[in-house]
């Protein structure tokens, strides 16, 4: 990983899947998603990227939202995955893993060649 996180071009494709994979585990809110991403090794997802993404997921019908009172201070917007969201996540995860395997194989071969 580079010092300031993964390149944003890489994240653009896979971030919706990662976010949905977190939401599918249980109802959660924006800041918790950001913390979880950081904990999982994706540290550079700022609010400016995360919330518009959540907004798009909501508009596409992959998540639903509702407001609840925060533990202290302002209320929280909670995200919950929809059945359509679950289906999309399952389908796209398979595709991503396949894509990931292909790129892994390609890059692994390249590294082996360079070593020999």
């Amino acid at each position: 990983m580079v010092d300031d996180g993964w390149p944003s071009e890489w994240l653009r494709g896979v971030l919706p899947l990662c976010v949905l994979a977190i939401v599918v585990e249980g109802e959660t809110h924006g800041y918790a998603i950001a913390q979880r991403l950081q904990h999982e090794g994706i540290p550079n997802v700022k609010g400016g990227t995360l919330y518009p993404l959540l907004n798009r997921l909501e508009q596409d019908g992959l998540v639903t939202t509702h407001w609840t009172e925060g533990p202290s201070g302002p209320g929280r917007k909670l995200y919950r995955v929809t059945p359509a969201g679950k289906g999309w996540l399952a389908e796209q995860s398979v595709n991503w893993l396949e894509f990931s395997d292909l790129t892994n194989a390609l890059l692994t071969n390249d590294m082996k060649k360079r070593r020999t």
């Binding site: 700022k46 518009p52 925060g70």
Partner: protein
């Protein structure tokens, strides 16, 4: 909430409205930012970026509504401009008034369209701006702006009524002014003197000298003096002589009428363009023929004028002639 967050929310609310994002969505976005910043203690400028750039991330879904809104505004502005042009046509046919702005009606249409678009944009930013203040009330996030208006029903009804009544009254007076052609008028001050000449073959020539102040009643098309004459023309070859002197106020023109000696040998008045807001001291010298021993005749000065170079009207000024 610290000052930085408060400033950020205010700026973000402004740019979201500017991008055409709907009220309830603006509230939601502001609340998200507020909650995130409160929980993470992060700097909103660092986490979310510049408010203008962040607002753009939500503008995509609003583009269609923006296009529809623009189309609607253009349609309304075009309707207003059409009504204006129609009214011009009616005014033109009714009292031979020339079309406004020398016939460049497209200027009016273009100005109406631009003004309507600017007004709508300003309305989005200014009139709906208080919605951003709802970001401090979480319960408002789930309610739409319509609910917000319903909660203030009396105010809304009052504002709508005032707008409608004001528009009608304003439109009515504007329409009346518009349909009225600018006219030339004379002030109350008119002075005239008549001097009898030598009677010849039963005809008595009388020289008339008159001083008065004339002005244009309303702004608009170009008003030009075409001709000046007395109500009885001299049979002889005596050409009338006229002076016209502009003054900035009616008072100064009236004062000028009292103080200025008649020196009218230059026929300067005919062809003079009269401007709205200027008062003209008009000095006229002419001659009429009366029957020998006739009673002192009533006399008028007739000012023929054109509107946008089309002969339009005549002002008849009764002269209170003092004969000697």
């Amino acid at each position: 909430m610290n000052k930085t967050t408060s400033t950020y929310l205010r700026q973000l609310g402004f740019w979201l409205r500017f991008q055409g994002v709907e009220g309830p969505r603006v509230v939601t976005i502001l609340l998200e930012v507020r909650t995130h910043v409160a929980e993470s203690s992060e700097d909103p400028y660092e986490t979310f970026g510049e408010p203008r750039a962040y607002a753009k991330a939500f503008a995509e879904g609003s583009r269609r509504r923006w296009l529809w809104g623009t189309a609607l505004v253009i349609a309304v502005a075009a309707s207003i401009a059409s009504v204006y042009l129609l009214a011009s046509e009616v005014a033109s046919h009714r009292d031979y008034r020339p079309l406004p702005f020398g016939g460049h009606a497209w200027v009016v249409v273009a100005v109406a369209l631009v003004a309507a678009l600017i007004a709508w944009r300003a309305f989005l930013v200014v009139a709906v701006r208080p919605l951003s203040s709802l970001a401090y009330d979480e319960s408002a996030a789930s309610s739409s702006w319509r609910t917000w208006i319903v909660h203030r029903r009396d105010t809304t009804v009052a504002v709508v009524v005032v707008l409608i009544v004001g528009s009608v009254l304003w439109g009515w007076s504007l329409g009346n002014d518009f349909l009225k052609s600018p006219q030339v008028r004379a002030s109350n001050y008119v002075w005239a003197i008549g001097s009898s000449g030598t009677p010849t073959f039963g005809v008595n020539p009388v020289s008339i000298g008159a001083t008065m102040v004339i002005y244009v009643t309303s702004p608009g098309p170009k008003i030009k003096i075409v001709n000046l004459s007395l109500s009885r023309h001299s049979a002889g070859g005596y050409d009338p002589s006229v002076n016209i002197i502009p003054y900035p106020t009616l008072e100064s023109a009236n004062r000028g009428a009292h103080n200025h000696n008649f020196g009218g040998t230059d026929d300067l008045a005919v062809g003079t363009t009269l401007k709205f807001g200027t008062y003209y001291l008009l000095q006229f010298g002419g001659e009429i023929d009366t029957a020998y021993n006739a009673m002192q005749p009533a006399e008028s000065l007739i000012v023929d004028y054109s509107v946008n170079d089309v002969a339009n009207g005549a002002l008849r000024i009764t002269l209170p002639v003092t004969y000697n």
